[in-house]
Point group: C2
Chain length 299, copies 2
């Protein structure tokens, strides 16, 4: 079992209609590895400043997360500030301080090089080749992206889509990349660009999973009070890849279950600010919600 | 088995970015009864003008639909004109000519009075009591509504919600009635207003089914080319109630299956303009799509 997550480990300042949080821990690498830690022992590649709390690093380690690839550099940790309105699917970025993340050239420790699954969470697609060539021969390469790279690095993004096996996108990103308004058409168009699996995340409406010859639907947990939507997508990816790493199988059935586990982990992430929900989340609660999903959808 | 649908049998003029149709057959009673006809022999209460095509009436009868309650009156048939943009979930009403529907006071034929399920599709809620008192003792009363009644007959609508067993609403209607933006909260708030079952229709995102102590999720068929979204909601209701009439059961499992059949019938309705898709749709195709839904969601 070996899943490497290359992503941001960061501070977030979150503004919502029901409360604010200043400089709490966030980042795609953090959410992704926490969600994956319920299934496997994920490895993280990232960078933080000396201001990053040691007790968070201790917590991540206590969850079985390997931080050999997390550099602590002189300087300040990446800091993002965002605001949510009533609709948790829409958010505005108020501030982005890259800090030590600005010249981050991900270096993969020797102990990670034989990893089976490599997940490039929100990296500049121009840096993918530099990261990937440090691995021996991963069985699966997965990527997510952000609006910024779609707008500014489109060509590199399309090139990387031609190389990866798994792509995570939310509805807005899928539409922007493909130009297709219909999400089913957008999902199929993304598969046509290269990845053999496309996970199209639809927030409160769950997710669609597109393969070469199938489409699956995955529900979202019926959540009445979204506290903080930050990290939902990263937690989805972490749960999905963590489960795939655990099962070592890519049958339709396992891919479908992996996506449900992704939805399960996302449903927990949004129940508290930042990574708060993970502090008290155990495997039994994860399994109980998985069974709830089954009950909610089986007919 | 006896399901009565009280609704409009009408002409629609449909404008979409990919084509227009002038004065084709539509209406909630038409779509609802056609969708239900794959499960039971629905009965229709409605009114048309003398301009309504006989061959459509013959087609409805050929599907086993009982038209004893459909009055043909001197004058013109109800005519609605609407326009869809790229997003099939949004539509604009361009024209509404009530014609013979204007002073429609639904009269229930004696042969319908012992019916088990009564569905009031899009009636002015102030007229519900007049209709319902003509039935002996229906086991289930279901209703849908339209934006117009939410805006203009709010009090009567809330009163009727306190009386019915089943309520169909789309996302916009559910939010407008309850004031809740979160759809799970809106669904629960609707149940709290009276109905023991609320079917919350979300277009391309499927539907949520709310009961006193459960929530089910129902997917939509992954459709790439919506030709004409008109009648999707009515077909959902027809399929749902038709299946419930057939099974004569209200277990969670049967309610869930009924909702999937509703989603199946809606998925066919949108594949052609007006009721076009029903002309060649047989029970085998319905069952095949039901199995597809199961395959797409089982994990």
């Amino acid at each position: 079992m070996s899943l490497v997550i290359v992503g941001s480990v960061a501070f977030d300042t979150i503004r919502t209609p029901w409360g604010d949080r200043e400089k709490i821990v966030g980042g795609s690498g953090t959410y992704g590895s926490l969600a994956a830690s319920y299934f496997t022992h994920p490895r993280v590649v990232g960078v933080v400043g000396r201001d990053f709390p040691r007790k968070t690093l201790a917590f991540l380690r206590s969850r079985g997360i390997d931080l050999a690839g997390l550099k602590v550099k002189a300087g300040k940790t990446f800091h993002w500030e965002g605001k949510y309105e009533d609709d948790p699917n829409r958010r505005t970025t108020l501030r982005t301080e890259l800090n030590v993340f600005a010249d981050f050239r991900p270096e993969v420790p020797a102990s990670y090089r034989g990893s089976r699954i490599v997940y490039l969470a929100n990296l500049n697609p121009e840096h993918h080749p530099f990261v990937l060539k440090q691995f021996r021969k991963p069985a699966l390469v997965a990527m997510d992206t952000i609006r910024l790279w779609i707008d500014t690095k489109r060509e590199a993004l399309l090139e990387e889509l031609g190389r990866v096996d798994i792509f995570f996108a939310n509805d807005e990103e899928a539409r922007l990349i493909t130009g297709e308004m219909n999400l089913v058409s957008a999902g199929k168009a993304l598969v046509a660009l290269g990845p053999s699996l496309v996970l199209l995340k639809k927030g409160e409406h769950g997710a669609l999973v597109f393969g070469r010859d199938f489409v699956f639907g995955v529900p979202a947990h019926p959540c009445e009070h979204v506290i903080d939507p930050t990290g939902a997508g990263d937690s989805f990816a972490g749960g999905f890849l963590g489960y795939l790493d655990k099962t070592r199988s890519l049958t339709g059935r396992d891919v479908h279950r992996a996506a449900v586990y992704g939805s399960v982990m996302a449903s927990f992430a949004i129940e508290d600010f930042g990574i708060g929900r993970f502090l008290s989340l155990d495997r039994d609660l994860v399994e109980a919600r998985f069974r709830q999903f089954r009950k909610m959808t089986a007919f």
